[in-house]
Symmetry: C2
């Protein structure tokens, strides 16, 4: 069991490390470009990933978002909304900060912690759907990151 | 434990289901297009996913590849190599077939089966690196699929 959980966490860590490498390999100008004509920009996707990972904090009962102001522009609005947003240097730093924060929390998680319900599911629903737990958030965010990483990598 | 393993398998199944939806939503003409100027075509990525998933069979000791002839064009060669390859209708069918085959095998896997070494690692190395097991293949293929799915989705 511990081995299975360890491998899930390693899978998350590998995606974060890979994402950091890809993002660091791109210039601010490259990140400002669109991944394909008429599609999202690298900056939007980076901001989107920051706010989605930031959302894991309240979802896992680990506290409030660090960057709540980013949700409206990078999650509730499409790219090129014209809404003001942090510059790319700030987004790069926020990306490293939120993942460092999450990993600090995860380092202290026991198997029981991972099996706890996340805050988007009621105790009643959770009783019948035990998979709606914190581990499920980690697994889905790992694939979500890989999905957008495949797009950001197109900016190279 | 069983719950953790179940959630990893559900994560794989969800990516397969999502991929099937996206691929079915694209016309043959859309799949023939490039995901971005100068990047891979949808057809190449579909063939790449088929041959990578096909490679899981020998890697997990489940038998030989079903489509060995696809490895050279979709794994060892870049897109637009000019090498002959199956048409898109065949690739669509191969994609469903290989995943059905894999899921038939996985349905019979016990936790111990998932903890077994994959064939790309020696017994000696595996003794010191127990994570180089069949579960690791599943976790890495799940992220690999999500990565390319984010690209194929751009063809919509």
């Amino acid at each position: 069991m511990e081995q299975v959980l360890k491998q899930v966490l390693d899978g998350w860590s590998l995606q974060i490390k890979t994402a950091n490498k890809v993002i660091e390999s791109l210039s601010d100008e490259q990140l400002a470009g669109d991944i394909a004509p008429g599609k999202n920009s690298g900056v939007y996707l980076l901001g989107h990933l920051v706010t989605v990972h930031d959302g894991v904090l309240p979802l896992m009962g680990l506290g409030d978002k660090i960057f709540p102001e980013m949700e409206n522009v990078f999650l509730r609005s499409p790219d090129k909304s014209g809404l003001p947003h942090p510059d790319v240097q700030t987004l790069r730093r926020n990306w490293l900060d939120i993942n460092e924060k999450l990993n600090e929390h995860f380092a202290g998680f026991s198997l029981n912690n991972w099996m706890e319900r996340h805050t988007a599911v009621s105790e009643e629903a959770f009783a019948n759907e035990p998979h709606r737990n914190k581990l499920n958030i980690l697994i889905s965010r790992t694939s979500h990151l890989a999905y957008h990483l495949g797009q950001i990598a197109l900016l190279k």
